[in-house]
C-alpha cells in the first residue's frame, strides 16, 4: 500500500492519492497529514482532491472511519472534498462519511473532471490551475509525503 499527501496547488488544494490496500491505521495517519496541510493552507478555503482510482481495499466500518480517520473533515478551512473514483463502494462510503461530517462533496471519474468542477466552484483557482496545466507538477514534490 502507499498513499501520497501533497499540495496540488500550494496552500489551496491538497492532493491525496491512495494505492493498493490501506489499513485503518494508515487511513488515520493520512487523515492527520491532510488535516495538517489544510490547517497550514490559506483561508478561507482549502480544497481536497482524493484520488482513489488505484485503491483496492480500504476499511469500511463507518464508526471507526468516522472517529479515527476523519480528522481532515474537522478542519474549518476545508472547502470542497473531491473524490476521484469509479468504484461504487468508494462512492457509497465516501458519500456517507462526508454527509455525516456535513462537508461539500462530489465524486468524479477523472482528475480533470474533478479539477474542472473545482475551478467552476472557486474561480480564484482558475489562474493557478491554468498555470499548473502549463507547468505539470512533479509527482513527488518536496512538500509531499509518501508512505509505502
Amino acid at each position: 500500500m502507499a498513499y501520497n499527501i501533497s499540495w496540488y496547488i500550494p496552500k489551496r488544494v491538497v492532493h491525496a492519492t491512495f494505492m493498493g490496500e490501506i489499513t485503518l491505521s494508515e487511513a488515520e495517519t493520512a487523515s492527520e497529514l491532510t488535516a495538517q496541510l489544510i490547517g497550514d493552507g490559506d483561508p478561507p478555503m482549502v480544497h481536497l482532491i482524493a484520488d482513489t482510482t488505484r485503491l483496492e481495499r480500504f476499511p469500511t466500518n463507518l464508526n471507526l472511519l468516522n472517529r479515527s480517520a476523519s480528522k481532515h473533515l474537522w478542519q474549518p478551512k476545508l472547502g470542497w472534498t473531491i473524490v476521484i473514483s469509479t468504484n461504487s463502494t468508494t462512492r457509497f462510503i465516501s458519500g456517507i462519511i462526508t454527509q455525516v461530517a456535513r462537508v461539500r462533496f462530489r465524486m468524479f471519474p477523472t482528475l480533470e473532471d474533478g479539477m474542472a468542477f473545482l475551478a467552476d466552484q472557486d474561480s480564484s483557482l482558475n489562474p493557478l490551475i491554468n498555470n499548473k496545466a502549463l507547468h505539470a507538477a512533479p509527482v513527488n514534490s518536496p512538500e509531499s509525503q509518501i508512505v509505502a
Binding site: 469500511t60 466500518n61 463507518l62 464508526n63 471507526l64 480528522k71 474537522w74 474549518p76 455525516v100 456535513r102
Partner: protein, 433 residues
C-alpha cells in the same frame, strides 16, 4: 429577565465555579474557562457544543410553567448547579462511543473501556461515601486517558476544532494535543460535581432516590460496556433505563420544587409507598425508548411496514455495495427522519436497546428482520409505559396539594420526545449537536 436568560446566566456561573472548584489545574480547565468567557469569539458555538444550551432549554421547558415568578432567580441557581454537573456527564458519556456490540474494537476502544470501568467504580464508591480522594483513585488511568481524543469521541469534532483554533491563536504556549487528549481532569470534576449535588440533596426526602439513581446509572454503564452477548429485549430496556440519568435528574428537581422552594406537605406519601419512584422509573423507560428508537415508536403497524419495506427495497437495489447493517441504515433515504436515533448510535457506536442484538445476527437481511420485530415490541412497551405514567401522575395529583410534581415529570418526558423527533445532528435534536 426571562426564565431562560436567568437559567443561562446561573448555568454559566455554576460551570465557572465548578471548573475552579472541582477540576484539577490543567490546560483543559483554562480552555473551558476561556470557552465560556467573552474572550472566545465562538462563545455561542462553544456553549452549544458542550451541551449547555440544550441543558438550559431542558430546565426552562421542565419548570417554565410550574413556578411562581418570585421563585425564578432561586430556581435558576438550582438549575445551574445540575447543568454544570451534566456538562461533565456529556464528556464522560462520550467515552462509551465506539463501545457498542456492533462496533469493531481497536486498541483505543479497550483503553476507553478500562478508563470507564475505573471512572464508574470511583464514582459509585464516592456516591456511597466510601472515599473522598477522587483524584488519587483515578490516577492509575491518567496515562491511559492521554490516548483518547475528546474531539474524536464527541459528535461535533468540527466545532471543537474551530474553537480550539481560536483558543490557540490567543494562547500560543498551549498545544492542541494537551487539550484534545486530556479527558482526565473532566472525569475528576464529573465525580466531584455529582458528589456535591448528591450530598446536598441527601438532607431532603428525595435524597435516597437521587443517590441510588446515580449509583444505578454508573453501575449500569459498566454493565453495558461489558455486555458481549445478546439479551432479551426487556432486559436491555431495564439496563438502558438505569443508564439514562432520568431518575436522578427528576428526583433532584422534585426535591428542589417540592421541598426547598414550596414545601409539599404530602410528598412523603408518594415517596414512602413507591409511587414517585415508579413514576420516575417509568419516565426513564419512555425517555430511553425515544432516545434509542425515536419517532419509529409512534408509527402505526401499517406505517411501520411501509418504512421497513422501503429499507428492504433500498437494500435490494444497493446489495452490491451494502455488506454491513450500518451501511444499510446510514444510506437509506430518510425523508421524515424516522431513523435518526438509530443512525446516530450506529455511526457513533453507542449502546442502543433496539440495535444491540443485531450484532449477533448472521446477515444484513436477518438483522433487518430483527430490527423490525424490535421496533414493534418496543413500540408496544412505549405505549404501555405512557399509559402507566399517565395513571401514576393522576394518582400523584390526587394526593398532592398542587400539580407541580406531575407537571415536572410530564414536561421532562415531553421535552425528550420533542428533541428526539428532530435530526440528531441539528441544534435541537441532541444535547451537543
Amino acid at each position: 429577565m426571562s426564565l431562560q436568560a436567568e437559567i443561562a446566566k446561573a448555568t454559566i456561573e455554576n460551570v465557572r465555579s465548578s471548573l475552579v472548584r472541582h477540576m484539577p489545574l490543567s490546560p483543559q480547565r483554562n480552555y473551558y474557562l476561556w470557552g465560556i468567557s467573552n474572550a472566545n469569539p465562538y462563545r455561542e458555538d462553544f456553549i452549544q457544543m458542550i451541551g449547555v444550551n440544550q441543558l438550559i432549554n431542558l430546565s426552562t421547558q421542565m419548570i417554565g410553567d410550574i413556578i411562581e415568578p418570585a421563585d425564578q432567580a432561586t430556581i435558576a441557581q438550582y438549575c445551574g448547579r445540575i447543568n454544570a454537573y451534566f456538562m461533565y456527564e456529556i464528556i464522560s458519556d462520550n467515552l462509551a462511543n465506539g463501545l457498542s456490540a456492533l462496533c469493531v474494537f481497536d486498541d483505543n476502544a479497550s483503553m476507553r473501556r478500562d478508563v470507564l470501568h475505573a471512572f464508574n467504580h470511583v464514582m459509585v464508591t464516592r456516591l456511597k461515601g466510601e472515599h473522598n480522594d477522587t483524584a488519587s483513585l483515578l490516577q492509575p488511568v491518567e496515562n491511559l486517558t492521554k490516548n483518547i481524543s475528546c474531539f474524536a469521541q464527541s459528535i461535533t469534532p468540527r466545532k471543537h476544532q474551530a474553537c480550539i483554533n481560536a483558543y490557540l491563536s490567543q494562547r500560543p504556549d498551549v498545544t492542541q494535543q494537551e487539550i484534545e487528549y486530556g479527558v482526565w481532569p473532566f472525569l475528576v470534576a464529573n465525580i466531584e460535581a455529582c458528589h456535591e449535588l448528591t450530598e446536598y440533596m441527601s438532607h431532603f426526602q428525595v435524597g435516597p432516590l437521587l443517590s441510588q439513581g446515580g449509583i444505578d446509572r454508573y453501575q449500569g454503564v459498566t454493565r453495558t460496556i461489558q455486555l458481549d452477548h445478546g439479551l432479551p429485549l426487556n432486559e436491555l430496556v431495564r439496563m438502558g433505563t438505569h443508564t439514562v440519568s432520568v431518575v436522578p435528574v427528576l428526583a433532584y428537581f422534585a426535591g428542589v420544587l417540592s421541598e426547598i422552594i414550596r414545601v409539599e406537605p404530602r410528598l412523603h406519601s408518594v415517596i414512602n409507598d413507591g409511587t414517585l419512584a415508579d413514576a420516575l422509573n417509568t419516565a426513564a423507560v419512555i425517555v430511553r425508548l425515544v432516545n434509542d428508537v425515536g419517532m419509529l415508536l409512534t408509527l402505526s403497524q401499517q406505517e411501520r411496514k411501509t418504512v421497513f419495506t422501503g429499507i428492504q427495497q433500498h437494500f435490494q437495489t444497493h446489495s452490491g455495495d451494502i455488506d454491513a447493517f450500518d451501511h444499510l441504515l446510514m444510506s437509506v433515504p430518510d425523508e421524515y427522519t424516522m431513523l435518526t436515533r438509530l443512525q446516530k448510535d450506529l455511526l457513533h457506536g453507542e449502546f442502543n436497546i433496539c440495535l444491540h442484538n443485531l450484532a449477533y445476527t448472521n446477515s444484513v437481511g436477518e438483522a433487518l428482520t430483527l430490527l423490525e420485530n424490535n421496533v414493534a415490541n418496543l413500540s408496544e412497551q412505549y405505549y404501555r409505559s405512557q399509559t402507566h405514567l399517565h395513571d401514576l401522575l393522576a394518582s400523584i395529583d390526587r394526593r398532592m396539594t398542587s400539580r407541580t410534581l406531575s407537571n415536572l415529570i410530564a414536561g421532562f418526558v415531553r421535552f425528550h420526545e420533542m428533541i428526539y423527533a428532530e435530526p440528531y445532528n441539528s441544534s435541537i435534536g441532541e444535547y451537543v449537536a
